[in-house]
């Protein structure tokens, strides 16, 4: 019985890690790749660690370490993803050409690195030379 539970949990974990890696290879731009990667890989590694915790039932240290790793991953993966996404937007990584709306367009002050939250104070794109980051073709992001 416990073997079946372990097999199901490890299969789900390995498959979600596989989907994360297929997603990072196939998604059309950086931001979609980031969105796929962080969530699916955290879920997969969490399920594999639950497997390890079930596998050694009479040892509390394995359970403690598994809970510590899962807690640490859930705590740190969104922070790292947020910081790398923000840095990517600053250095001008292009968005996919099919992007419908870019709500950060003109809201970041590129000198002071401050975020302007009022849409009326954004940079006026009709008068400035600031052009949007949405890519014109597939070659820029692939």
């Amino acid at each position: 019985m416990i073997d079946i539970i372990l097999a199901i949990l490890s299969t789900l974990g390995a498959l979600s890690i596989l989907f994360a890696s297929i997603g990072i290879l196939r998604m059309p731009d950086f931001y979609l790749r980031l969105s796929v990667t962080v969530k699916a890989s955290s879920l997969g590694v969490g399920l594999l660690l639950i497997c390890a915790a079930i596998m050694f039932p009479d040892d509390a240290s394995v359970t403690t370490k598994a809970i510590a790793i899962v807690f640490f991953l859930i705590l740190t993966a969104p922070i790292a993803a947020h910081m790398i996404g923000r840095a990517a937007y600053f250095i001008g990584t292009p968005l996919w050409k099919g992007t419908v709306v870019d709500e950060l367009d003109g809201m970041y002050n590129k000198e002071t690195h401050e975020l302007q939250s009022d849409p009326d104070k954004a940079i006026d794109k009709s008068t400035s030379t600031f052009n949007d980051q949405i890519a014109d073709n597939d070659k820029e992001t692939r």
């Binding site: 890696s21 790749r33 497997c51 840095a87 990584t93």
Partner: protein, 90 residues
């Protein structure tokens, strides 16, 4: 099929294939941030591989390595994004 052969012949090959697929993105990624997240994902998959390996070899001590790898991955991504954001040559 026992659980040990299932881990050996199904789970570990799936994880290895994932590492190979991510390595293609690390190799060809058009910008530096693609390479940073590919490296982060490789380390995260490495934590999973270490976990499965510690189950297979019955070595509980290997999970300590996984804790250290999780720390290193987080600090590496934070450091990369800090210095990428500071760079001046836009």
């Amino acid at each position: 099929m026992t659980l040990s052969t299932y881990f050996d012949f199904i789970i570990l090959p799936i994880l290895t294939l994932s590492v190979v697929l991510v390595f293609i993105r690390l190799f060809k990624g058009p910008s530096i941030v693609d390479r940073v997240i590919a490296l982060d994902l490789i380390i995260t998959i490495g934590i999973g591989i270490i976990t499965v390996y510690s189950i297979r070899q019955n070595q509980k001590i290997l999970l300590d390595v996984a804790i250290i790898l999780a720390l290193i991955a987080f600090l590496g991504t934070i450091a990369f994004s800090y210095y990428i954001e500071k760079q001046k040559d836009d």
